[in-house]
Symmetry: C2
Subunit: 376 residues, 2 copies
Amino acid sequence: MRSLSVVSIESPAGLSTHGCGAGDEPLLLRACRGEHVERVPVWFMRQAGRSLPEYRDVRKRADLFEICRTPELAAEVTLQPVRRLDVDAAILFSDITLPLAAAGIDLKIVAGVGPVIAEPIRSAADLRRLRPFDPDRDAPYVAETVRIAVAELDRPLIGFAGGPFTLASYLIEGGPSKTHARTRQMMYGEPLLWRRLLDALADIAIASLRSQITAGAQAVQIFDSWVGVLDPDSYRDFVLPSARRIFNGIADLGVPRIHFGVGTGELLPLLAAAGADVVGVDWRVPLERARARLGAEIALQGNLDPALCLAPWEVLAERVTAVLDRGGNTGHIFNLGHGVPPETSPDALRRIVEHVREHGASRQATADAEWDALGV
Amino acid sequence: MRSLSVVSIESPAGLSTHGCGAGDEPLLLRACRGEHVERVPVWFMRQAGRSLPEYRDVRKRADLFEICRTPELAAEVTLQPVRRLDVDAAILFSDITLPLAAAGIDLKIVAGVGPVIAEPIRSAADLRRLRPFDPDRDAPYVAETVRIAVAELDRPLIGFAGGPFTLASYLIEGGPSKTHARTRQMMYGEPLLWRRLLDALADIAIASLRSQITAGAQAVQIFDSWVGVLDPDSYRDFVLPSARRIFNGIADLGVPRIHFGVGTGELLPLLAAAGADVVGVDWRVPLERARARLGAEIALQGNLDPALCLAPWEVLAERVTAVLDRGGNTGHIFNLGHGVPPETSPDALRRIVEHVREHGASRQATADAEWDALGV
């Protein structure tokens, strides 16, 4: 394992200000709040993990949950993409199902499959197996990971939790599902049991996020990755109340809150209504459409098609530019529309970061000049 | 196997006119053309197949491709849902990958997995293994199935073909894929090879559809089921030309053309632009939004969440009504937003059909009365 060391600020385009000098708030946080920024910040979902050789080295000696439960390892893996890619934020290395395992669920991550639950939750009796989650008692290693990483970082660390639909789906199906059929069967057929399950999951998320924020996370993201399987009526009736519970449950801590799910084009206004400051946008939705659906008050995060990470650089560069152009000058955080594909070359990610910096800054300079020319 | 027999027209609500009397065109075809209809027609994607016990009986004695290649069996299975459910159309029982197997690809349907291709297509050399498809020579059983079924039917039979992206994905990935990563890698990285593959697949679809129409199919549907993984720019640049090739290639035959894919909310106008008369709408998109994106000239097909087939009847009935209300009085064909889940009770499907008939007709009567009251 590489030793921990202070992350150096490299400046590929002479522009790498993460905004920690001169009393400024970090760039990412200002962008989350929709403030005028000198350039669009950039980070990647799943930037830590399978696409980095230094992660695969760590992974040879420990499995996913062992890494998550060993603060030195988890912090190391959290910092790896910041070192290598110079992204504008770190994101905690962990897994959305980890708090479930810590709250009494017999859960394994099976390579090539995903989370597998030994005894799925399908009744009120089953629900009793999901204990209340106390981060200090059940998963102290998470906050410790945050503390170690934050001490090493000169830019924000994003904490996260799984969204209620996605975690419920794993618990009910017993693992990943293409159709989420049993999940929706409970949702439509046993709405009271469903609501109890989702509120219990919301409370787990709240406890986990509060602990991460207290330990130093400066922004948080709710990954309700699979909620895009629902139509808007179903989301509003069966998930939004529990999502809102999460956002309300951390509102007093004042950190920007990002809300993301795949395939959620029709749900964007509801993801915002849950209480988000930033909505993560799937690659299927051109950002100007997302903006039209969400209004100017909500910041957007996204949304390059992850598959483009595997495309030739000329194609990739053109599409990065298009995402920047569509995202506009403020209220945009560059990211992929979902996680980094495992086969991605780290060089491609590094070039994306540089391209966002260069293109984002030159475009911003033009916009500022035009603004000045107006004499306002 | 049950013997073939003329399908009886049962009238659960006294309204079961499939429009074959009095020189009328069948209800389904008039609805496809956006004409004023006495009620909204209804059929179900995957209405023939796994959810019907009489299909499972046939399946005990023959596998999927054996059924498809035996006209008497395939016609029987095509007719089963018409007998049991009294839907307004039959759809040919076949599989979108069948013409690929007939055109030289070593392809199996593996239970619980889907189509599995022994040697995926990943290069120009591989592409040579995909021969031109001559339905009369390579798959005469398909047209024969259509002829047998049509002779027994008093309502339209819908023919179909796989869309170019979806078939390309199976061929490139070697089977079903969650991410379609290799597929998009070829699409972005080798656009000329990609275009040759998709045009070859379009030509297979054209040949297959022309043969089905000549044999008696009165409408056709292109299932580009997985194309919703693309953003609109990518669809427009990399798939639309080949989709348009298919629609143009059957335009002279004058049958209504339906275009469907899952998760295509952002692609709806492009699915129409390919040349469709009807666009199938995924359950995620409320029909009034689909209507706003598509305009009044295109008919809509859909879009009940298939998962609702497993919900209690009260919940299901309410959502069927909502789909009808959102679909409006003309230019709407009731269907699910994707295929019937295998666990669905045929009784639930039968009740949906009856509900659509009753609700659709009473709503239409109200609309007609209001229209008359206007004195126009």
